[in-house]
């Protein structure tokens, strides 16, 4: 049981610098966007967790935020995998926000779908393992995709090796939805200008019986 779908078009814009990237745009916001957002988020977390606005607490908050920023700046130079630094391309923030809302909707759908499968008297599950290749722009996009696959209905990421994703799917329908490449394209669009869902998911291999491995 193996169907192989080749991508209709190779990835031409894979390493290309998009207009949202930093190269030709030297404004302060774009260059230090990650740092500014990090400071804002960490301060918000500190304020929520402490809930006090006395000078002493604010002082220790500033110290903690600075310490965490320093630590993560040291971490940032360490590549996540071989020869591949973490943030080569910038994420597009408006798309990230839309994506997060879409993800919440997916969590609700996924929970109700699996709950329906569990409570169904005959339990109509047909589990299988799907392997496919999805060329994501960088390591972080792969992590986001793996996490999103786990959150969408009936699929669970088992392993990610380079571009090869191994996914456990509960039923045939969710497998078809997965290999349609819709979500892969959504994740890639967080970093790139545009891409079609046909290009994002290729070399699909289904393992539906014990002899397949």
């Amino acid at each position: 049981m193996c169907k192989v779908v080749h991508a209709t078009q190779p990835f031409l814009f894979f390493n290309q610098v998009s207009p949202f990237s930093t190269m030709n745009n030297t404004s302060l916001w774009l260059r230090h966007r990650g740092l500014i957002l990090q400071i804002l988020l960490l301060s918000a977390i500190w304020l929520i967790l402490s809930g006090r606005t006395d000078a002493v607490y604010l002082f220790w908050g500033v110290v903690s935020v600075a310490f965490v920023i320093w630590l993560s700046a040291k971490l940032h130079s360490i590549p996540l995998s071989e020869k591949e630094p973490c943030g080569t391309t910038r994420i597009i923030i408006p798309r990230l926000i839309v994506y997060l809302f879409w993800l919440v909707w997916q969590i609700i759908k996924s929970g109700t779908y699996v709950a329906y499968l569990i409570l169904h008297p005959k339990m109509p599950i047909d589990p299988m393992i799907v392997r496919f290749t999805s060329k994501q722009p960088n390591v972080l996009a792969r992590v986001i995709l793996g996490n999103s696959i786990t959150l969408t209905p009936g699929t669970l990421t088992l392993d990610i090796e380079d571009d090869l994703f191994t996914v456990h799917a509960l039923t045939q329908e969710v497998e078809e939805e997965l290999v349609s490449g819709d979500m892969e394209a959504r994740v890639a669009r967080l970093y790139m200008q545009d891409c079609t869902s046909e290009d994002m998911c290729c070399d699909i291999e289904l393992i539906t019986s014990g002899r397949g491995r």
């Binding site: 109700t112 699996v114 589990p127 669970l156 456990h168």
Partner: protein, 106 residues
């Protein structure tokens, strides 16, 4: 307003407990490790999220509900990672997935 808030909180908390119950039933009913990871990783996540957001709605706009929202965000990000880590370890360890009765006979 308060009535609506309470009603919404009750609905969310009841829904959350329902999904957590279904998740536990699923862990017992489903046939193998990987399908059980689906139950614990998804249904339970949704249950906990609904439960906590019900509590946040019950609190209203206070610091406590902000803390609850923080917990919600962390649970939403970490729970699928935990499910993935368990399932990946099981696959590498060599655990055979269950592919359905039909195909085992054929």
């Amino acid at each position: 307003m308060s009535l609506l808030q309470d009603a919404l909180a009750i609905i969310l908390v009841l829904g959350g407990t329902f999904f957590m119950l279904v998740g536990s039933i699923g862990i017992n009913r489903l046939p193998d490790f990987f399908t059980r990871a689906h139950a614990s990783g998804k249904v339970d996540t949704l249950g906990i999220l609904m439960f906590l957001s019900g509590l946040a709605v019950f609190e209203g706009f206070t610091l406590t509900s902000a803390k609850l929202l923080l917990i919600i965000a962390f649970v939403a990000f970490t729970s699928p990672v935990a499910a993935h880590a368990l399932a990946r370890r099981a696959l590498i360890y060599g655990m055979k997935p269950w592919y359905g009765k039909r195909k085992d006979e054929g």
